[in-house]
């Protein structure tokens, strides 16, 4: 049974240097408080996989030197523009990039969830994404004549990390409509979750809540983190902190500014 860890830092024990870490897209629940803890802990050599995109979380981890390899369909700060630390790292050749496309990541995680070695995916043929993904294969669809199709290998990350509205004491986590979080946890070896609050009852006992619940069976550690997605949004709970994101975009545009951001908002929060 998963444990409710005494602290975020404690819950993150599974995220070791060099591990393959899967993270959620912005609208699914990004564990930003935990991300800051990883930066403070000086986690290194992460192989980060975004399902299927990332925003400030990937940019922050990359800027702080935590990431060696990145697989994603995009990293962007949305209306606040490109992700500056991500772009700088790619341009500097400091990041082993695996450019993907959203449904390829969904398919690869679903194959991982099912324990199958690969998944087929239409599209891609003739793109430079496929050209650079030498780990992807093209076969002839055996159910048709002269019909090439891409196979993407399954993704089974070491750890999946996300933020959710609530968990109960048995470690069941309510994820609502964010079904890819279930897929991510099913595919991963271990799953670490931060939550806004502890639900007093049993999430699986009520059929309506159970429909949106990821069973504790898949969860290794849970930590309480109120407003744990801040400054990103937690859908249906709180919106993005637009001002803070604008400030991040402004500061992260330069290495010095980024260092000031870390000092002010990431390292400082240790004391807070």
């Amino acid at each position: 049974m998963p444990r409710i860890a005494p602290s975020i830092e404690d819950a993150l024990a599974a995220v070791t240097d060099g591990c393959v870490l899967a993270v959620a897209r912005e609208v699914s629940g990004v564990a930003m408080a935990a991300t800051c803890a990883l930066v403070r802990r000086e986690t290194r050599n992460l192989h980060l996989i975004a399902l299927p995109t990332s925003s400030m979380q990937a940019d922050l981890l990359i800027g702080a030197g935590c990431v060696t390899a990145l697989e994603t369909s995009a990293v962007s700060l949305g209306e606040f523009g490109p992700a500056p630390r991500f772009a700088a790292a790619v341009i500097a050749g400091a990041l082993r990039m695996r450019d993907a496309t959203c449904p390829a990541l969904h398919a690869a995680f679903q194959a991982g969830e099912r324990g199958e070695p690969f998944a087929p995916l239409r599209g891609l043929i003739g793109s430079d994404i496929l050209k650079y993904r030498i780990d992807w294969k093209v076969i002839d669809n055996p159910f048709a004549a002269d019909d090439p199709i891409v196979l993407v290998p399954a993704i089974r990350p070491d750890v999946a990390l996300f933020h959710a509205p609530m968990a109960d004491r048995a470690g069941n986590v309510w994820i609502g409509r964010q079904r890819e979080l279930a897929t991510m946890a099913h595919a991963a070896e271990k799953t670490v979750v931060t939550v806004e609050r502890i639900h007093p009852g049993d999430l699986l006992a009520d059929p309506v809540l159970a429909a949106g619940t990821l069973p504790g069976f898949y969860i290794d550690a849970i930590a309480l983190a109120e407003r744990g997605a801040w400054p990103l949004p937690l859908p249906d709970h709180y919106p993005a902190d637009q001002e803070h994101l604008a400030e991040y975009a402004r500061l992260a545009a330069t290495p010095d500014g980024f260092a000031r951001y870390l000092e002010r908002y990431v390292h400082a929060s240790r004391a807070a």
Partner: protein
């Protein structure tokens, strides 16, 4: 916050939205990705005119978005033939309809790095009507050959491809895409722009009629819907855009 212009004139954004609405035609489901307020306005306009049809999925919206199966549902829908219209853009778009959302230069050590391809390398193949939308019309954005093909404009005959580009809308003109030729054809220039100007600012070769028409202005009825019901709905997802273009704020009375 500016007042909306009178009904006999229209803003560029309104013109573009109405052009796109025309291209949408009759559809069951129009999906709109992130950071696309003008396509979103066009899709909502189509629904307002179609009295509830098409279904419109604004991926950033909670309200205008019926998905309950996670982030994969859009792609599952599209793969299963249930997305009729989608919008894509490109940091670069070339004359063969190839789009680049990744990088300028060698992608391993690029000069410029863009966010990435998102779902384009799948959606461009399977959505029957993909409308390319790039307001900046310059030789920097519309190029002879993209540096990186996030998704190609056309595919070999044996590649499964029920979808692809039908048009490219810019701040200067409308190109239609000829799938068989794999080339764009200039369809109309927006009011105040000229065919010569298009040639000057386009980095790729394209077909053009001897005399090119002017993009028709929106009807009074369309403008009314756009500035009324559509602006009201749009404000949920694009508050700044809506305030700026339509002089509307989220939650303000219509």
């Amino acid at each position: 916050m500016q007042a909306a212009p009178p009904e006999d004139s229209c803003r560029d954004e309104e013109l573009l939205a109405c052009v796109i609405r025309g291209l949408i035609g009759d559809a069951r489901h129009v999906a709109v990705g992130n950071a696309s307020p003008i396509p979103a306005a066009a899709a909502l306009l189509a629904r307002a005119e179609g009295q509830g049809r098409p279904y419109v999925s604004l991926l950033q919206s909670r309200k205008h978005n019926f998905f309950t199966d996670g982030g994969r549902e859009l792609f599952d829908c599209a793969g299963r033939g249930r997305v009729d219209v989608f919008f894509l853009s490109g940091a670069q778009i070339d004359g063969q309809g190839n789009i680049n959302l990744v990088a300028i230069g060698d992608p391993a050590r690029p000069q410029v790095r863009f966010p990435g391809s998102f779902g384009s390398a799948f959606l461009y193949y399977v959505v029957p009507k993909v409308i390319l939308f790039r307001t900046e019309h310059s030789r920097r954005t519309l190029v002879a050959k993209v540096d990186f093909i996030s998704a190609p404009g056309t595919s070999a005959p044996n590649v499964y491809r029920p979808g692809g580009p039908v048009a490219l809308i810019t701040n200067r003109c409308v190109f239609l895409f000829d799938k068989d030729k794999g080339r764009f054809r200039l369809a109309s220039v927006h009011p105040g722009h000229s065919a010569a100007e298009i040639a000057e600012h386009t980095g790729f070769a394209y077909d053009a009629p001897e005399t090119v028409g002017v993009t028709p202005k929106p009807s009074v009825q369309s403008l009314r819907l756009l500035r009324g019901a559509v602006a009201g709905e749009l404000a949920e997802v694009y508050p700044q855009f809506t305030a700026q273009v339509f002089g509307r704020r989220h939650g303000s009375a219509s």
